[in-house]
Point group: D2
Chain length 432, copies 4
């Protein structure tokens, strides 16, 4: 998390203050469940809540300097502020009951915010895809002109992928919405499944099926995986913007703000820096996946090696992805599209992309595919080498004209026909 790439909401979510406040939420929910079970005097949690204590992270840190144990320091501080009733908190619990349940709450909140931002990106992509559903563009494969498509269809492809990413994030949110109030090795030695169930459902969480000292880390790894997939979807989009904005392509570009400078040396440059930035940040979100997977194989009923990793990758990956989603949404919303340039590039290949239509027409006349391919390639290669117009060469070709009338050749050169499903594809993505 560095300020440059950290939305304020996430800075606060992952602050020490937020962390400790969430711990207190968990302790109080557990306390209420224990009150119901008769393990703790009734009204304990309420009396603590009524004190509306404000936790002081600095003070907790101070205590931790001696105890070297963060949860004990936290509890000591709560007792300082809330007095006697606080002694009932944490009864029969282990630190990880608090920490893991709290982490689940924070990740669920992060997920909810990420989903909101994803919705903005989805709306932007849907809007622009519809806007350009019928704007012709040369489709490329391998960076080489292939057959026509539309700018809207390209955006629709990204839209469908981001939506799949959203679906995975919703599932991952469910996967990670799992806490535990089950004691030192998950056996409820001084607790019960009923207490856990009540406490967690008050917090909007489910109980881990079988916990050890901690919730199993596959839940979290799945969450990081889902984030990396969404980041990769943004990377693909950003990569395409970078291609579209290249000087030689020039089909679309990032909105350039007033006063913005492209280069300290070249005043006229407009660089796709937002998109390049998104590609870089995607590497950061992706880099959290392997450590998250390495965190899974804890020793026995747990070791704490996962903890330092999560202290870093949980804020970093969620915050970076939040920033990416916001930036990507703005990028799409502001993307300047140049239909004239799109048309100009489309024209550059001189209708060669209709070669397949011609080949299919020949096959329909009974030619083996291989023969048809070679006959069409003859004219295509001449046109490709700049000797003249593809359509003209076809009509002049003795073998071809023996099979196809000029009008039949002309029918193969129909852009409208080639793009007849563009709108359908855009709508399909929007409704997916």
């Amino acid at each position: 998390m560095i300020p440059r790439y950290s939305p304020k909401e996430f800075v606060e979510l992952w602050s020490e203050k937020s962390r400790y406040t969430t711990w207190l939420e968990v302790e109080l929910a557990a306390c209420e469940a224990m009150e119901a079970a008769g393990l703790v005097p009734s009204g304990t949690a309420r009396s603590i809540r009524q004190k509306q204590i404000v936790l002081d992270p600095k003070r907790i840190e101070e205590i931790e300097a001696t105890t070297r144990h963060d949860v004990i320091a936290f509890l000591t501080h709560v007792e300082e502020l809330a007095g006697e009733p606080a002694r009932w908190l944490h009864r029969g619990m282990t630190s990880s009951d608090v920490l893991d349940t709290s982490l689940a709450l924070l990740l669920v909140r992060a997920a909810d915010s990420l989903l909101g931002r994803t919705d903005r990106l989805i709306a932007a992509l849907a809007g622009r895809a519809r806007e350009h559903a019928r704007t012709p563009m040369i489709g490329r494969s391998h960076g080489i002109h292939a057959e026509p498509t539309t700018f809207g269809v390209a955006l629709a492809g990204h839209l469908a992928e981001v939506k799949r990413g959203r679906t995975r994030l919703v599932r991952a949110r469910e996967e990670v919405a799992v806490g535990k109030i089950a004691g030192a090795v998950g056996t409820y030695a001084h607790l019960s499944p009923e207490i856990e169930e009540q406490a967690l459902s008050a917090l909007g969480l489910r109980a881990e099926t079988v916990s050890t000292q901690v919730v199993a880390r596959d839940h979290h790894a799945a969450f990081f995986n889902a984030m990396a997939l969404l980041a990769s979807a943004i990377e693909r989009l950003a990569t395409n913007v970078r291609h579209w904005q290249r000087t030689e392509v020039g089909e679309a570009e990032e909105r350039f703000a007033k006063g913005q400078k492209g280069s300290s040396a070249m005043p006229h440059k407009r660089n796709p820096v937002l998109s390049e930035n998104l590609c870089g940040l995607s590497r950061i979100v992706r880099a959290a996946v392997v450590p998250a997977l390495e965190n899974v194989a804890l020793w026995h009923e747990r070791d704490i090696s996962h903890s330092s990793v999560e202290r870093m990758i949980a804020p970093d990956a969620t915050t970076t992805l939040a920033f990416m989603l916001e930036r990507a949404a703005g990028l799409v919303e502001g993307l300047v599209v140049y239909p004239a340039r799109l048309q100009q590039n489309l024209d550059q290949t001189g209708e060669l992309f209709f070669s397949e239509a011609v080949m299919l027409a020949l096959v329909h006349k009974g030619l083996p595919r291989q023969r048809a391919y070679e006959m069409v390639q003859r004219s295509a290669m001449r046109a490709f080498q700049g000797e003249g117009a593809f359509r003209g060469f076809l009509k002049e070709d003795g073998e071809i004209s023996a099979l196809l009338q000029p009008s039949e050749i002309d029918e193969c050169f129909d852009l409208e026909h080639a793009l007849r499903y563009a709108t359908k594809l855009v709508e399909r993505a929007i409704n997916s």
Copy 2:
């Protein structure tokens, strides 16, 4: 894929022969859909099927040496074998229509086989978890004795994780069961959504929402992620077996086959080599995740950089995971558990794990948690340093005995009570 770690079924699945056979399946399904649409003479596919041609990978390779294009080489070979009707195959399609749809079929088949193997592992874990639901074991955290649990509960934790892994794999199978028959840039220029729909549903697949030349690679990346999570679940299990089998722990060990030799130098050694092997193989499956994610951001309507990656990681990761599942199932089925040693280790900590129960009893008598903690620690540390019995020290402690009767102290030392939820936890995992 190296023979040592490759189940025969997967060697065949990923063979050249299987690859080309699947291509033909796809071409024929597409052909039938085109027949229905009137684009291809009715009966074409049937007449090819009736020839029951046997593809020769060597011959295709030979043709490819000239064309440098595998699908064209394949089609040429099919025409050699099936004659004239084969010229209708691949009409209006692009190579990737065949390749990606075929890859989806192969991955779906791999997934089905992986799911079957996962079921065997699940059954093994469930059986052994029930068998040892009530076998006491010291629960550990940080490698240090914590509180009692049971061997069955430990296995139940693994069971629940493997089941979650299975659920993810089922979803990933759905995610990857996506093909396309949509032409060079996904616009159905010479095809139609209806043809695609018919062809794919005949193959048990769905259509990509918006394809480019290819199916988007996030589908595949999600599949590799799911495999890595399952591999990590096995790694955690194998890591625990390695700990259990350590000379100093000795609580369980891998079945040692007759004639097997542990070491070329030390005849008596029984090493947990299967488990260590599983930990290593998990790194291999995990290593496929990042390249699969890097494959997502293809340029424009596609580049082919993903292809070489998938040629390697798709067989490698699926095959390795298949091997791991098989080996892990065998490992669990054959795991030799030593209840006497489990008990002996449990006894080693001299009942110190009941310290929390004593602390809670003191808190119930009205002591602040912190005071109670310190009072109990006094006796605990003496016992820990080998000066004598924990329970005795507690009873001798003036401050403690002022609050707790000897019988009340004894009540805290109840293993049955500590393990009262063990069976419930095992059943919870089995029913999860």
Copy 3:
């Protein structure tokens, strides 16, 4: 390792036959050292060598099926073939003495072959860089035209990077040229440092400073790192070829073989498939780095988890990199460069890239940088928006013409001057 991407030399290097032959080499070198130390009857190794036995991998596998221990199976087979003297082999050694020393030999041989292939790539880059040292090309940053450079300078940048990669590989070869003949836990219990020293130096290796049962795995991880860096250098080169070959850029392209087909649908397409393939394969070599690093932290004096990983990544990464180097060399050798198109693209930005020279001239006249920047941007933006010629606007600008004579403006527009160091840069790379 899949046949498609596996040079024959590497298929043989990593074959079972080669593996066992190397084991025998190690055993015999160790035997000779033990003869010198008087631990084994003099002449033992020579008498085995004279038998010129041919190992049968199938037979070893057969024996291993019972013993489940590969080195014991190998030794049994050697005794079958070489008779009584073979019983002296492996005296006081542990399996890993053979396996790790043998792995070092194989990796050193792989490294030597990789270095040879790197030399071919270096020669190709040097030759083409010199050829095009003075071929002007628009330099780009962010995909946007920046200032002129030459095609040769671009190749020289790749050349310098590949040379750095070579230097790292030479060092990594040294790092991995480390064996051990030190017994079960590295203490020379039945051996001596002198025996180890003699045996290893006969094999061209050094002794591990302090071994455990195995050579420490940081040696190997460093080797995989060096390979990944070289693969990344090739990826950068291949990425640039893909950009150069784009339809809209068209500055250079891969040699297109006779008979080669670009697409099953579009006969005219020439796709940069070799370069895209290299980008994909780079992900594969890179993917070996993390498992190799994960292999480092073995438990105690060793666990065998690294072994399965290395069985896969050692052949895969070395073979894939060998293939990449070969393909990259061929790619550079055959690269078709289009100077006319380079010039045409250079002209496209209408001399805007000389804006900095104008700005510097203004600064020299005493203007603050910021003012100069704004004054030049005025004309630059008009030209950029297609309103006319940049140079003309500058001359017409009242503020600028008050400071700079038309001839002074013209002096800023000097391509020769801009490229005056091109040849020097190329030579610098060649001599680096």
Copy 4:
């Protein structure tokens, strides 16, 4: 970078203040070189230096909010503070001349500090290795008792690995000590190689052989690789401490501070949390390797995707490694070793580890290795199954006693002999 794991020195090194100060260093060094070349009025840099300006990161940020370009904002701010002479700064340079040269300076400083910390770890390992050079310990492989070694030899193995890591870091420091003052695309359009050479050598750096707009990213990737290797070395050490500290092993443990609490529930627990933490942090440093490698393949003469990645991984990885080195050194310095427990564990295997010595003695009597192996295993297995003493069984064995006298058997059971090279190994590591 999170406070918990960030040494103050690194927090300052990577602060905005330090960043901008370094930029100014670079600009002034370049300015002085340009003065020498007559491009800038003599004395410019000196007059700026004399003003001893104090940069205000907040103000630069403010300006950047408009320009959206950090280096332009920085230069504007410098001009605000230093007035007219500052207009000469950055002449003919591109932003990356400043940024990349500055990054090199920061990484070199980070490297120097890391090397200092590595030296402390090396000294600690050397001291403790010598201290325990002759402290017997059972050597383990696969977690199973193998043959004796010493605690000092184990530490010496870690020492040798950390020293190799240091050597790699020294090299990586050299690799990354590379800047550029070469203009927008590295052609020295308005500069010269001489100016670059002078400016960089004043800063203690070398010039990139052929730069583009930036220094090639393989330099940096190599640096991250070297850090990951050092982190992995620490992980192996920490993993062993965790094993040694296990309740059942108890051979060594982390120093437990006064007041420190092992667990909120179990007062007596002493968990190896520092070592577990080091294992987790190693995953973080390792996770920087892949993004750093992905940064290499920039497009053309550069894209800026690497920048956001480096803004995060450069501070994170260097800072985390600095923290790890410090913590690891403290861990080793304070490690509490329990020789009595080491001896007790050594005795646990009942001399079985001498089995190889017996086997070798039988081979010397002329037995085939395989026969000898089986004969010894007979007694070993009985002893292993707890039926009695290994040495006794050997002496009672008819076949063995026919070949070996009781005294000859006794000679095989010599711990001194087994450990005769321990001191030599320790010294070898210290002198490596």
